[in-house]
Amino acid sequence: MIAFLIKRLFHALLVMFVISVISFAIQDNLGDPIQQMVGQSVPESERAALREELGLNDPFLVQYLRFAKNAVQFDFGYSYFFNEPTTDVILRHLPATLELVAAATFLIVTLSVPIGVYSAIKPRSPLSRLFMGVSIVGISIPVFLTAIVLIQIFSIGISVTPFPETTGWGSWLNGLLSTEGGMPAYGRGNDLTHVVGTWYTNFASWDSLTYLVLPAISLASIMLPLFIRLIRAEMLEVLQSDYVKFAKAKGISMRRIYFLHALKNTMLPVITVGGVQIGTLVAFTILTETVFQWPGMGLMFLDAIERSDIPLIITYLMVVGLIFVITNTLVDLIYGLVNPTVKLTGKPA
């Protein structure tokens, strides 16, 4: 166990090292910091002196070590645009993104497990076919398009009149097909509740929760079909296995077999895939936040790119890298703990 932990930790450090080198290379190659600091009128000799003073003429390795030393202390310099430490900017935007991801994860977990299990237990029922059909369509719809359609339906509203409005049933059907709209679709609302530090939450009041609904559904929509299909496929395979057949032969109730015996082994691969998909979810927050103008890290990152705010871009990369590394390491550890067939020492069997 200890050996496995150390190995994973070493791997995580290696990945962070690679990310930091890439980030530093980006910082080093994009733009001239002197240009950003001083005006046009400053003569070349002063610029050269400033460059020497800031250590910009030092060899790559020396500069990288200085960057790494600051990075370990979470010091990435000042954002050009906000004119405050980049870590402060990130901390201000982080809670919004985390709440969005949390809400989406909640939707994914509570929906994908029952639907996946159901369509594996009853693969031929019309409802399962419907779920599978919808899920392949869901995979093919880009997340920003789902978001736009949701805004059109629930925020702006649609009114269609394919049936004659004059007859009673016609106007009833038209009303059924049309939607009122009115769901908030932009930003987080004004009714946020302060929790601690920079963390203002959308979860505390009913009104602010409505702001979270559409973004969370959009973000969940991209992962949900994937997980339904994965859980279904795994469950189908587990149900074929000998131990399930044996349990059936022993006369254990089907409910117990499905939800106790089979589900446990189904969830193993789901954990691994889930860990990797958290990374994808963070990437998709960029798209979701752009559509809904959700003031999280993703929107901040895009704005930083527009403004060439290089310190902020670098900090975002490092923070996101750190999130990925932590989640991946945790998932590996949990997987090792849950699945006794994994040799935690990493020795070949």
Partner: protein, 313 residues
Amino acid sequence: MTTITIPVPSRWARFRDSYLLYSFKRDLIAQVCLLVFVAMVAAAILAPWLAPMNPYDLAQIDILSSELPPFWIEGSDPLYLLGTDAQGRDLLSTILYGARVSLIIGFGAVILQALIGVSFGLLAGYLGGRVDAFLMRLADIQLSFSTLMVAIIVGAVFKATFGGETFSEYAVILLVLIIGLAEWPQYARTVRASVLAERSKEYVDAARVMGFRAKRIMFRHILPNTLSPIFVISTVQVANAIISEAALSFLGLGMPETQPSLGSLIKSGFDYIQSGSWWITLIPGTVLVVLVLVINLLGDWLRDVMNPRLYKG
């Protein structure tokens, strides 16, 4: 003594008797999907002849006829079948040209990632050892970041390095590069897994004993035997590349509005959705979804036919 020569069936005859064609004939969904896909590709290729207008030609654009609705809504102009966008461009023409750009980038990116991924996968699987460890670790790191994230980061760096102007000018090539670089690990992993299975077979040993060089064994002997999984993931990857391109364009890291792809059409229309002009964004969106959906369904079918246990999900 008479020698009996068994005629070698021609390629066409082999294809005619293949299981692939047999199952295709029995699968209605696959047939419809192929038909729709071929029709869309043909329409995209023939865009300059089919489109009523040239959206790249500024002289044909009339700002006065902007935001006209499609033909089934009141107030439309019969000249513009699907309506016009905010700049007064005919939506049908822009979609035809846009689909063309999306498809070029989608296929280009897949060819690039296949080149990188297949070479790396062959090297990693055949050589093993340090090369394998290094390449697969690289793939792991990149995949844990998710391909879209890598594409966004690379896109951002490219845009910051080249500047907006140059980026727009070479957007097609740069997007192929970005998506190709972001998604090669999928190929590398699949190919490596099949190479590992093939490497221990006798024909590879035989080739090695005969003194062939590693390069020849990898590309002439092993590669043909790993083609069917490559083929299967290629379909899914084309769909992914088209979605990635659309996502990048939607974020403003892709095709400029003067030379729109389906993604940048959706982006440019999104600004007008609040004013009620939903068609500018939702019609190109529908086209994108249909295109990606038929490719995904074809990929599903192909996977079932070629190797039902290749991957899950």
